[in-house]
Assembly symmetry: C2
Homo-oligomer: 132 residues x 2
DNA sequence: GTCTTACTTTACGTTCGCGTCAACTTTACC
DNA sequence: GGTAAAGTTGACGCGAACGTAAAGTAAGAC
């Protein structure tokens, strides 16, 4: 267990996904588990990538966008031009994320206000009944 | 023009959506334009709702979730129990949004670090070529 | 050895959020 | 009143991200 390999079931339990999902991500070339015979085995690297995949999904990125971003987290392999291209992609995503961050902050403030306003309506309505 | 009514085309141009999209939102009961004869006419309220719809979509909410949230922004009509239920939904959404906000902040820091690291790899590679 | 259990591939099905015709009706303009 | 522009209602199509059933394999338990 020098590499802390996990079976597909252990992965599913750990990350709350289904086997279908993991195989789907593999088909889309987002993760590359080893094969011991026919079975898949996931190592630390696969788990790190899956964490990033699930995070990306929560932010509304498509699997293809996530795949491109993951290249940025890979140490070697790509050539100069590829790295540069990936950086460009990443910078655009970063812009999107920062815009989304700001907007989300506003929306939170907004929603909070709406909630307390609605709460006031409730208590006021109650008071009306009591004093009416 | 006391209510600043807009045709579907004007709406599409103003919000960068297609007529199909607006009719789809109407079918899902997210907006309720008036009818002048057969044609739809959108007022200030419809535009406000559409703004919230598009914002919600950017945050990854489904149209059904958005529909529920929109009830919160509606002044009258609902009864006590309905308002209370809507507030519950809203609070859960708010939790999600705040979690997402925090996580997005981390992801931004993370991605920035990855980008500058990748940039360093580029410049280092260049230096290697120059000094090699 | 066979039974169970975990895993595999293949492949068709499903939901969401619209796109894209097709066929009609209005409305605007001359 | 004819015609073009804008709008209308179906209805089917489509890509993304899986769900799900079918059928096969491989390894350990007894």
């Amino acid at each position: 267990m020098s590499e802390e390999l996990m079976t597909i079931r252990q992965m599913c339990d750990a990350f709350s996904v289904t086997p279908r999902t993991l195989r789907f991500y593999e088909a889309r070339e987002l993760i590359f588990p080893e094969r011991r015979g026919q079975h898949r085995l996931y190592d630390r690297r696969d788990r790190a990538r899956l964490t990033l995949i699930l995070r990306g999904k929560r932010f509304g990125f498509s699997l293809e966008e996530i795949r491109q971003l993951l290249e940025l987290y890979e140490p070697g392999g790509a050539n100069h031009a590829q790295i540069a291209a990936t950086i460009d992609v990443a910078r655009q995503r970063l812009d999107d994320m920062e815009r989304q961050y700001a907007e989300l902050g506003e929306a939170i403030v907004d929603l909070k206000a709406q909630i307390s306003e609605a709460e006031n309506r409730l208590t006021t309505e109650t008071k009306d009944k009591l004093t009416g």
